[in-house]
């Protein structure tokens, strides 16, 4: 029952926004009919949303302010002038190339096969060359990375390293330190649990969830800055996420247990299986975790290889 409630939690926000698919809506409603706790949760979140929508005070300023602003803006634009030349040049070159190709095609179109099909042939040629170069570079990267990954996948070294006293990679050590200092709250998770489980299965079994907000979730690690949100919590830290039941079918966890997984280990395993996805960092983690990607801020693929 508890797991079911946890599973429904993920849908509640979308449910009150009415953005769920019919199938998921039915699932949620079917659960709600039999679960008063979740009914209460839905009602509370709905009321919260209504309170925000209805009572948040939006800042308002006078028309005079906007009039002054327009005068200032006009002055500012006059001072700054139009778009810088190189920007315009860049755009113009692109537009010129495209129109040139179109003109060439129009001029020669009726006389030769190549002229007639210049655009598709040119595009195809460019695609082949780009593909060839990209594949070549990609293979080299992956080959280098696979060597690293295979070492990690054989045994869950990352989890072990986090708890070992020696041979800690600098990055992991930093994350672990962050975890110990920032996230360690008495009664939530202990180092003993981490050490014991990491040796066996490569994840840390937690006796209880870390916080009430993240109940039933696993920990993944976050090792880069989110370019879109350059603020408070953008630095490396442990993030709590996802439910144990979605790890995979082999999960040895019971309903009331929680697991901590180092993200980079899962990524490494995934990359071993699907090297072509290497550069799509966000997609990698999305597919790995099968959950919304709150922690998906690994914006640069090379950061994986640092591990």
């Amino acid at each position: 029952m508890k797991l079911k409630c946890n599973a429904i939690q993920r849908f509640i926000s979308d449910y009150i926004d009415d953005t769920l698919s019919t199938k998921d809506t039915e699932k949620v409603e079917s659960h709600l009919r039999s679960c008063q706790t979740c009914q209460h949760e839905v009602a509370a979140l709905r009321k919260t949303r209504d309170l925000v929508v209805g009572f948040y005070v939006e800042p308002e300023v006078s028309d005079n302010y906007y009039r002054q602003f327009k005068v200032e803006l006009h002055r500012c634009i006059e001072n700054k002038g139009p778009t810088p030349l190189y920007e315009r040049l860049k755009t113009s070159v692109g537009q010129f190339t495209w129109s040139l190709l179109t003109r060439v095609r129009q001029s020669f179109g009726r006389y030769s096969f190549i002229g007639r099909n210049l655009l598709p042939i040119g595009t195809l040629f460019l695609l082949i060359v780009t593909g060839f170069v990209a594949t070549h570079m990609f293979k080299q990267n992956i080959w280098l990375h696979s060597n690293q990954v295979s070492k990690q996948v054989g045994k869950p070294v990352i989890a072990q390293e986090l708890n070992a006293d020696n041979n800690k990679p600098e990055v992991l050590q930093g994350i672990y330190n962050d975890y110990v200092t920032k996230r360690k709250v008495p009664g939530e998770v202990s180092n003993t649990n981490l050490a014991a489980d990491a040796d066996k299965v490569g994840y840390w079994k937690l006796a209880e969830p870390l916080t009430t907000e993240t109940e039933g979730h696993i920990i993944v690690m976050h090792i880069s800055n989110d370019r879109s949100v350059p603020t408070d919590d953008a630095n490396s830290e442990l993030i709590v996420y996802a439910q144990p039941d979605i790890l995979n079918n082999k999960s040895p966890l019971h309903d009331d247990e929680y697991a901590a997984f180092p993200l980079e280990l899962r990524v490494a395993q995934y990359l071993e299986q699907y090297p072509r996805q290497y550069r799509k960092s966000l997609q990698v983690v999305d597919e790995l975790m099968n959950v919304p990607s709150e922690i998906l801020t690994i914006s640069e693929s090379y950061e994986f290889s640092k591990l």
């Binding site: 926000s13 009321k47 309170l51 925000v52 803006l73």
Partner: protein, 195 residues
């Protein structure tokens, strides 16, 4: 004759400066509101609004017609506002101090409303204050999503496009933010009364 938005954009692209004014008129409130909500500082909001429209003017040639112009303006505003916040934090200014500068005075809106019962009036003013405070106390990334979704009415996809992240990220941030707000507004959420 009033020019349509598409026409104004075309004219702006061709270097016609006069096309900017109607666009500024249309989007100034939205840009200012969003900038103020993100920066929580009137001065910064003013600068963000200025930078946003200068960028619109200077980068209009990079705007692709297939995207909505409004979403594009939103994106520029959010990015500019985030840059301001980032710069401010780099200068080690306390966000709490700056947050206090903002004056979302709930009584301003109340004046326009006809409330007969002084007690109800006072309760509503208090509620507005609480809700506003709760939203403003969220972390920046969660506040932005709440503002864009609950207050600006944008879809998950639009927000994802503005913040350059996945829809899943938007969804989870929104969910987390709502849960936080629920905790912050607990007395009102748990109350039986309908406000």
């Amino acid at each position: 004759m009033e020019r349509t938005e598409a026409l104004l954009i075309d004219h702006l692209r061709e270097g016609d400066e006069t096309a900017l004014a109607p666009l500024v008129d249309k989007y100034k409130r939205m840009v200012h509101r969003l900038a103020l909500q993100i920066t929580k500082n009137h001065e910064d909001a003013n600068d963000v609004m200025q930078e946003t429209f200068i960028k619109v003017y200077q980068s209009i040639h990079t705007f692709r017609q297939e995207a909505a112009f409004e979403t594009w303006v939103y994106r520029i505003t959010v990015n500019e506002a985030l840059n301001f916040v980032k710069r401010r934090e780099r200068r080690r200014e306390s966000p709490l101090t700056t947050a206090q500068e903002i004056d979302f005075d709930p009584s301003v809106r109340q004046k326009a409303e006809m409330v007969n019962d002084p007690q109800v009036h006072a309760e509503k003013v208090e509620l507005r204050r609480w809700v506003t405070k709760a939203v403003n106390s969220l972390s920046l990334k969660h506040r932005i999503v709440v503002i864009l979704h609950e207050l600006e009415g944008l879809t998950h996809a639009e927000i994802a496009s503005i913040l350059n992240c996945s829809e899943g990220t938007v969804r989870s941030r929104l969910h987390y933010a709502r849960k936080q707000l629920r905790t912050l507004l607990k007395p009102y959420v748990d109350a039986n009364s309908n406000f």
